[in-house]
Structures are given as structure tokens and as C-alpha cells.
């Protein structure tokens, strides 16, 4: 059992959680993820690490509840215990393997969309700790959904953009990136994390500017150790498992359309499960189609 040292709502639909997991905290690096399971009946939920403290043995997660399992997770409080917490999983970010000299040769831009801003943070922090200042674009629908602004500002130059213009710049992250380039910023290394559709369009934009771009994929997963193949993606025409080969890949080579289709596989079941969890067994099965009355 893994103790929750802090849990709560961060902003809008985004939640945070600080968990005691010494083995994970000892060895994790930016870009890696953990799998969390709540209760005997729970699903295994992959979540990218937001921050870690080796001395205190803690891992911080920021996530957005979207189904039954993540909603159950969000209902846990400080002091509660998580049944299973395993990691670190996946390959660390490429930039963690670079020497300080190599890091200094690059001009980094990070682009975080929505809750995808969270996994950007440890990477920007890593660069900061290695003496490299990076630019970070935080994109959100609206002002209230901007997360981690202050902490990000402590480690990088931050540009905020909102879809509705309620805070920072107005528009999508792709517009923000193009504006920054037009304003004279130049980049040769981009890391983009957020919804699949946002990563797809960011990659189209960075391709135009020939900026190599890393994306973090979050497909459906079960074990997270390479056993099941549920998370398989096509990257540069080859099958890759996000859990062991990734989760970060060359965004210009990822088949996003396929990845987006594969992500919808359990959508109906997830939706039904979520309704049943939220509303109880309201469906009487009278339609004669779904078998709910049997």
C-alpha cells in the first residue's frame, strides 16, 4: 500500500496527488510514468510523472479524471492508501541522456496542452537544473484551466495561451509557436505533450519549421511492461509499444490518425461504466437490445 501525502483538486478538472513510493522516486527520470491501481477491482491506470523527490521518496502526479477508474482515484484523500503503484515505466526522455555540453547546444521549446502541461514540468526542471533555460508554451481552453504556471515560471520562460483569450495570448498552441518564431525566437528541439489531436497539429507545424519534435503518447495500456501489446503504435512504419519503446517518440514519424482510432476501442464500455458508476443502475433494459434486463 502506498500512502497519499497530499491529494486534491488543482484547477478545473485537474487533480494532483503526492504519493510515498520510495523505489519509484529513487530511480525515475523525466518522461517516465507509473501505473496506479485503486482497490482489488480497479483498472491499471498509466500516469506520467509530474515531479519526484528522491530524498523524501515521493512521486507527484497531476491528472484529469475521465472515466470510472480515474474518478475513483480523484476521490481519495490525503492519508488514504493506494493499493498498487508501480514504476518507473517507459524510457526516460531523450534529453536526460544528453551531456551538459550537448544540452547547451540546443534551443528547447516545450508545448503543454491542458493536463499535458504536467509531464512537461519535470523536463523543463531538468534543463533548469543543468543550466539550460528553455521556453515553455502552456496551452489551455480558458484561464481557469491553466496549471502549474508558477512552478513552471521558476524553471523556464513561460508563454501562456488560451483558446478563448481569457489569459495570456489568444489562440491555440500552434499559433503561439508560430507567433514566437515570427517574433524572433528560434528553436531546434521541441517537446509537445497534450491531447493526441493537439500533438498531431503541433507536429504538422514544427515539420514546416523543421524543428525536431518529441511527443509523449498515452494509448490504452494494461500491464505497462511490454506484455500485452494493447499500446502498440505505428512509428515510421514500424510497430512500437508505447510502454517499453516509449512513451516518447519522434512526433514527425508517429501515425496519429491510427493512434486516435485505437484510443476509441473501449469508448462505449467506458461510457456505460461511467454512467453506471455515477447514476447507479438506472437502465432498466427495456430497449431489448442491450441485454440489461437479463
Amino acid at each position: 500500500m502506498y500512502k497519499i501525502l497530499k491529494a486534491g483538486n488543482l484547477a478545473g478538472p485537474n487533480y494532483e496527488m503526492l504519493v510515498e513510493a520510495p523505489r519509484v522516486a529513487q530511480r525515475c527520470l523525466p518522461g517516465q510514468f507509473v501505473i496506479v491501481k485503486v482497490g482489488e477491482e480497479g483498472e491499471r491506470i498509466p500516469l506520467t510523472i509530474t515531479d519526484y523527490d528522491r530524498e523524501k521518496g515521493t512521486i507527484e502526479l497531476v491528472y484529469q479524471p475521465i472515466g470510472v477508474s480515474t474518478s475513483k482515484l480523484s476521490q481519495l484523500h490525503t492519508g488514504d492508501r493506494i493499493t498498487d503503484f508501480v514504476g518507473p515505466l517507459g524510457q526516460p526522455s531523450e534529453l536526460t541522456r544528453m551531456s551538459d555540453e550537448e544540452l547547451r547546444t540546443h534551443k528547447f521549446v516545450f508545448i503543454g496542452g491542458g493536463v499535458g502541461t504536467a509531464p512537461i514540468y519535470p523536463q523543463a526542471k531538468w534543463l533548469h537544473e543543468h543550466g539550460v533555460q528553455s521556453d515553455v508554451i502552456i496551452g489551455a481552453k480558458t484561464k481557469d484551466l491553466v496549471i502549474l504556471e508558477d512552478r513552471m515560471k521558476a524553471v523556464a520562460n513561460v508563454f501562456i495561451t488560451t483558446d478563448d483569450g481569457s489569459y495570456g495570448r489568444h489562440g491555440m498552441v500552434t499559433k503561439c509557436l508560430e507567433d514566437l518564431i515570427a517574433e524572433g525566437h528560434s528553436y531546434d528541439y521541441c517537446v509537445c505533450i497534450g491531447p493526441m489531436i493537439m500533438m498531431k497539429f503541433t507536429c504538422l507545424t514544427t515539420k514546416k519549421y523543421q524543428i525536431p519534435t518529441i511527443v509523449s503518447m498515452n494509448p490504452i495500456m494494461v500491464d505497462g511492461t511490454g506484455m500485452c501489446g494493447a499500446c502498440r503504435l505505428m512509428v515510421d512504419g514500424e510497430v512500437k509499444f508505447a510502454c517499453v519503446d516509449g512513451p516518447e517518440f519522434d512526433g514527425h514519424k508517429v501515425d496519429f490518425d491510427l493512434a486516435m482510432k485505437r484510443q476509441t476501442l473501449y469508448r462505449t464500455q467506458e461510457g456505460e461504466a461511467f454512467l453506471a458508476w455515477k447514476e447507479g443502475k438506472t437502465h432498466s433494459g427495456g430497449c431489448g437490445q442491450c441485454g440489461g434486463d437479463k
Binding site: 523505489r23 519509484v24 529513487q26 530511480r27 491501481k37 477491482e41 480497479g42 483498472e43 491499471r44 470510472v68 477508474s69 475513483k72 493499493t83 498498487d84 503503484f85 508501480v86 514504476g87 518507473p88 515505466l89 494494461v222 500491464d223 511492461t225 511490454g226 506484455m227 500485452c228 501489446g229 494493447a230 502498440r232 505505428m234 510497430v239 517499453v244 491510427l258 482510432k261 485505437r262 476509441t264 476501442l265 473501449y266 464500455q269 467506458e270 461504466a273
Partner: protein, 467 residues
Amino acid sequence: MAEIRGLKRVPVREQDPKVRAANFEEVCLGYDEDEAVAEAERCLHCKNPKCVAGCPVSIDIPGFIAALKDRKFEEAYNVISRSSSLPAVCGRVCPQETQCEGKCIRGIKGDAVSIGKLERFVADWAKAHDKHMQCYRGRTGHKVAVIGSGPSGLTCAGDLAKQGYDVTIFEALHRAGGVLVYGIPEFRLPKDRVVAREVENVQCLGVKLETNVIIGRSVTIEDLLTKEGFDAVYIGSGAGLPMFMNIPGEQAKGVFSANEFLTRNNLMKAYRDDYDTPIACGKKVVVVGGGNVAMDAARTALRLGAEVHVVYRRSEAELPARKEEVHHAKEEGIQFDLLTNPVEILADENDNVRGIRVIHMKLGEPDASGRRRPVPVEGSEYEIACDTVIMALGTRPNPLISSTTNGLEVNRKACIVADEGGATSLPGVFAGGDAVTGAATVILAMGAGKTAAKSIDAYIRSKYGES
């Protein structure tokens, strides 16, 4: 009558095929005391028992059967326990027809003694009467780490604990048992009643179990040997990486590895309403492959309500699955499309599977495995309509450990290189089971765990100058 009884084995009670096709309860119900004693009486007690030679862990088979005959059930359990840490599992999943029973003299004329069912009876009797395995030696104070809680790791850990070692098993998943929990379904190997009980048995010997630790990620082998004070490590991490065919359409929605399908159903219990993990099993399922895993996937899909076809490229004689599994699958209504091989998976406009295009095969010259190589019959392609395809083509070892352990030698198939005693290229590091051989059987993995336990004992004794 006596003669017939001598030739035929005592039949074992099973759930009716029609009933069991719709539930996940265990298919085989096992012998009761009288049936077990009657079957035990068929044993001829050969002076040179071939059955023992056929057993990878060398159980004293005539010995335990002799005790059974005299209704000394506890003694029978103690005899088996001396050689095997997992009798309730082996009695259920071993391919006895090619091992102990395959060598039984009774089998030359008539049925071999039903050794597997007798072993299972003894293990189940011990559970019902709360009997546990016993330790032989006092604490040695030396620590051994075992990676993986599958059959190989449990056996190695159990044997070492019996020798007095301080053993910790590290398991990557949230539940112990390895392939016994994620791979083999409930209807063949009950999880709580049998697997959890065998794990508890090993824990009763003093073995510690740490779940949710991925060696290579959460901690490395080097750290175990240096920072955590282990004297030796046994790698029993299995072969968990699924293979695909690399044919067009394999990324469509509705194509699963058998590992995914079975893990969702067995480990995550997706077949139960009270568990959160979903499973997408359509109405018509094609399982590709002919091994035990293919049978398990097919029979699971059937129980989830699907019509199931097994597509296998060779003929029935070459099916690698246990005979009993094939027999049970047929009884339950699984259809076998033999000498048939997929060439393409077909998807609709939303990328959902709508069928599979297959080609007829014929058997040509024998290949390296000694089996006749299947070759396609030109122009014989046809389509099978289906909404789900499950690939059960075998598995390879996971490179997580080998890629994070400097100096650990692996071969071209990513299998860890180990000698007959289980020693690897690194001092103090031993390996066995599927991680070394590639996907094989539970009992062979147990045999390797047993051998390695002996080697580890010898290694530690010589390291500390003990005799």
C-alpha cells in the same frame, strides 16, 4: 471386470460441456478419495520407474501413489512436497501425456495411470486439511532475490527457503503467480483456491513477496547484489512479450494479442461485472495459433459469449496444446480451421475488424523442429467474417532485465544464456524458465527453478566456505 479396471483409468468427473461453456468455473472436478485410491491401485510400482524420469522435477511418483493406496494422504503430500512446491498447479496444467504418464508402463496396453489427477487430488486434499510444506534446515542468514513469482520463481524460492535461505520474490505485477494468474484461465486453474494457496504455501516457508517491483526499472540486479545485500539473484521473469504476424490490418480495432486478452480476463477479471477493466470480445472470434494459450483464449472468448474459430497452419497432429485442452475445446463447441493461415485482417471504414483473409496450407518437408513445414496452397484464399482476432503465436522474453544488466549475456532470441545449473554470465546471477528457454511449460520452468536452487545453494556455500 477386474481386467477392464486394470486397463482403463478411473474417469474423472467434469462439468457438462454445455453448462461450462457459459461459466468460468473449473472444468475438471477431480477425484474424490475412493476414486483416487482406486486409480492408485492401478500403479504397478515398477522397479525402475520410468515416470519419475519423465518428470522435470523428479517427483517420487510410485512413492506418493503407494501412500495413496494405503489412504495415507498426508504422507502422499509430504512425498510430493519434497520435489514440488506447486502440486495443485502441476496436477492441473502439466502435459502429463508427454511426461510422467507418457512413460507409464500401463500405457503400453491400456491407459497410463492418471498421475496428474492423483497429484491434483493429493494437493487439494492437503488444502482441505490445512497441511503445509515443511522446512529442512535452520536459517542460514544469507539472502537470495528471486525475480518473478511465476512457476519457476516460486519453485526456486520455495526450495531455497526450505534450505534456510532468506528469500525475497520481486513481482512486477500487482498479484503473484506470473503466467498462473495472468495467462491460464480460471476454468483451468482457479486463482484464489489454487494459485493463491500455492503462493501462500511458499510464503509459509518464510519467503517474502514484494509486488509492484519491476527489476530493471524500479531497481536493478546490480543494486540488489550491492546495495540491498543479496548474495545471489535468480531470474525467473518468463517470456511475456507477445508476437504478431506482421500482416496487413493487424493494427485494426479488434485485433489483440492473446496475452492482452487473457491478462484482461484473468489478471484483471474483466469477465466479472464488479471489476473495472473492460474486455472487447465480439460475437465471432478468430484465434490464430494452436498452443495451450490459443486454447485458453478460444475457450475464454466462448465463455464471454462468442462463436470461436481456431485457425492453425498445421494439422491436428501438430497442435502443440495439451490433448485434454483440445478435447475440452471441441466438446465446448470451438471450431478448428486447420491447415489454414491468415494473410490479411480486414477492417471496415471505422477501422473495426470485419474479417480475416486466410489461405489453405499443406504439409511439406520436415523443418528444423522435425514437424512438416506448412506451405500455402496457391489460389486457395478465402475470407472468414469475424469482429475479433486474437493472435496466440507465442511469446519472447522481455528485454527489460537484460537491457538494464551490464554483462548479462543473451542469445539472438533475447533469451538469457544460462548453463545446465542455471548460472549466467554474471557471478551470483542465475536464471531459468521461459526467460532462458523461450515460451515452454509450467513444469519445465519449475524444473529449472529447482536446479537453480541447488546451484545457488552450492554457490553461496562455496562463497562463504561452508561445506
